[in-house]
Symmetry: C3
Subunit: 359 residues, 3 copies
């Protein structure tokens, strides 16, 4: 199992539809709405995306002629600069080849994913290997987040972007391909760079996703182009332990695996997904973000917490690009399973370990 060094899985898999129950996803691109059932369909979508030219900046409505100033930090705020490179990475979904929850071997699935990689100032050098999710962007209220972005996936021959949730930005920094209304940050061609400037306003406090929103963003987000933004009140303390978990899937069309793999942060099955740790007495915050077309619920054995309404929960719903936070003071040592409670997701990889040490 596993792909070669290209972006779509090998073609001609027998009984593919049988294995996936006819599962497919849809990509709107160029002149077509692609129904993506096979690796060949992925190639077609990529070819359509590669043929797109930079759109003109149409002025059909008076709002299209507005111009915008680049925001600066508020009094006392800072510039938080990040250098991100979108690039392909040979990604192991199941590096251990083992599912520790069910005590069984699972296939080692490797494919050509896309990731936002953190680089040092001025794109001097990578800060570690590409990872899924990309680096967490942090700010306090009053700061501006400056993301220097380079589309380093030249082989993909497609425009890419960074689109944030939660923070404030003007249309220049939306990072979204909008057809003829696209502004500069919505179409960063292969090899190009663009600098996004986003404001951490008082109503930006929270944890949010960022993700590709270029012309092929459904496919490229599914490939791994996403990460988290954390905005805190000015001077607010970090929790003692803070984790961001993305619930998503890698479909067979892009991995070449026999089935969809339901993942947490790019990995499937306990022992491959993140193993979280904490100690009794610590303040823990686990941010859970949906990043596919499915709805999920998030459960941690032995734990419960208050949701934003103050209600006690242990298995809340989290939808696509929605965030829920499980925050509590740890009081229950041991080895705990965390998982999405959609049975067909948990059994296809969406589970992991949370290890709690005594005080």
């Amino acid at each position: 199992m596993g792909g070669r060094d290209r972006f779509s899985a090998r073609l001609g898999r027998r009984d593919f539809l049988a294995a996936t129950g006819g599962a497919f996803f849809v990509c709107a691109l160029g002149e077509r709405n692609f129904t993506v059932r096979t690796a060949r369909d992925v190639q077609r979508v990529d070819a359509a995306a590669a043929s797109l030219r930079r759109p003109a900046s149409a002025r059909r409505d008076r709002v299209d002629s507005l111009s915008f100033a680049t925001p600066a930090p508020a009094d006392g705020g800072r510039r938080r600069e990040y250098w991100l490179v979108a690039r392909p990475v040979r990604w192991q979904v199941t590096p251990r080849g083992y599912d520790e929850w069910h005590a069984r071997r699972v296939p080692r699935v490797t494919f050509r994913a896309l990731a936002y990689q953190a680089w040092s100032a001025g794109f001097a050098r990578p800060l570690g290997p590409p990872r899924i999710p990309g680096p967490t962007l942090e700010a306090e209220v009053g700061d501006v987040i400056v993301v220097h972005f380079r589309n380093g996936a030249e082989q993909l021959r497609q425009a890419l972007t960074v689109h944030p949730h939660g923070v404030r930005y003007n249309p220049e920094y939306d990072g979204a391909y909008l057809g003829e209304f696209t502004r500069a940050g919505g179409f960063v061609a292969p090899g190009e760079e663009f600098t996004y400037v986003w404001e951490a306003t008082p109503d930006s406090v929270g944890v949010w996703p960022y993700h590709d929103h270029g012309p092929n963003h459904t496919l490229n987000t599914f490939r791994g182009l996403f990460g988290a933004i954390v905005v805190r009140e000015r001077g607010a303390a970090r929790p003692d332990r803070e984790y961001a978990l993305f619930l998503h899937n890698f479909p067979p069309q892009i991995t070449g695996a026999d089935t969809v793999l339901h993942c947490i942060n790019g990995r499937a099955f306990a022992g491959n997904t993140p193993t979280l740790r904490a100690r009794v007495g610590e303040r823990v915050a686990i941010h859970v973000i949906g990043m596919d077309s499915n709805f999920h619920t998030f459960h941690i054995h032995g734990h419960r917490w208050r949701d934003s309404a103050g209600a006690l929960v242990d298995c809340p719903t989290v939808g696509p690009n929605e965030t829920i936070t499980a925050a509590f003071t740890e009081d229950n040592p041991g080895r705990w399973l965390y998982h999405c409670h959609v049975f067909s997701h948990q059994d296809a990889g969406m589970a992991g370990w949370y290890l709690v040490d005594p005080r």
Copy 2:
């Protein structure tokens, strides 16, 4: 692409199941549970609905013998009267034939839908063409909403109704077909009229859907028989801009299109779906209501707001017949995309423009 002047799409489409991934929906009607895969299945469901006779009003339980007074307005309240006619309409799902987000042509899909059309007092004359959704019904606490309803879809040969959410009503005005327990308002035969009287009570404050709940209500709701109810506190000011957006789909079985069209207010793809407007400084309320069997999340670029728990969100979940409201004071001019964040919905039409002028 596109239907003829009948309620189901033309038959015999090649590769229909391939195109829809075997998608189907279920209708419970007459002696059968219909699995609706094709336009012919739609015809079968319609035929079964047309053969239903008005049910007897069975009295199996003591509650079935209760009688109910027609409610009157509370002190200071008013009667808010509406005249609604359910009628067929040749409906354009993609009138522009263009998807402005993805800068591409899309097929012009037209089919025979159903809509609640607003008429003037006494059914004197229509107040404009039939639209999806139907007219928004407004009231303040203490009012009664009086809906004079006529089933004007004689060609459909089926009973129709109006069933409201949120407001208070006694069983006579439930507007739901309940088999042998159906009361008058639950079976309005073709050509018949019925007057519903609903109370706007203090716990009715909010925005709610109304929809067909007759014997064939799954199919006829999917065809477009739905609208919004807005109940405000007495004397409460309207927001400066207020929109109601229904997230729903038109399945290929009723449109004859090759694929499902994921719609907002009966239209698919930006430029066809509602283009919303506001000005900086205005108080904006966008009410989003699920009206199909799917779950959705609702995202507006460049914006965030507080949910009913006070939490900052920009992409909350909205389920079937659930309402969420995005309410904020506008502060961010420009052209913004709004969309469901389920990737397979947004790429199949569930997106639109929100244009914000500077102060």
Copy 3:
């Protein structure tokens, strides 16, 4: 229609995939991830589960060597003891053979389900027939819930467990199969007993599910192994009427029916599902718990209530193993329909009656 006295439906159904739209579910077990499409697949999963041996208790991490004291009630708290036997039951999904909402006959579907049956102290005698859901476990803050569990499904030849949500427990009483990290309560072999001890802490207040979390828990939960836990503040009064409704489905693979049956508490279609009652003036609490892989919304005609954020709702979302509570003082007499508002669920059985008497 209907099964024989075995746990999977009879094989060789024609057009099974046609009838279910290729529906399937996934079970992770032994060396495989089973895609369960047919009754034969169910047999394969059961065979794999029957071949599992009790796992060793691996110590890979320091937390695996922790030992735990059995909790005792807090000052003033009590031991709430229950005796539960998991056992097969020939279960009627549609005992009336009739759907009262749609006034039509429906097939009588009977199959070999699994249920938690309540027994008297010391497993002396059963307290009534096995039911789906199992008995409701009640406690107040400060109590411990003691569940004496017997795996009485010897014919199934599989380990079973009881895993609770909401309450506090140490890893010994998690009731979850965790592969090599399984502790005693996570693998109760056929004929064996295990006693779980769970704490009702201040942050356990609410209504929660319990369910099987043994090695084959997806399949065995789908078969009916679930129930409710209610934790109240010390001395808190019960509502006048309190109901727990589980929204779930029985797939054709285990029932032998032609289609999936969307159920409430093990029954499908109004007249078979629970008929709830109340009287005007009574305080009513209806707890709704998701227990399958689907998301649902819950609607009661003629009623609305405040959610945990204080917002007025009449159709909230409820996800897998999530709980929502519809609580209100009854003020609206008559016969009311309650149902999930996912159209394809309500039309396939997920609806029932709520009968309200006048004061």
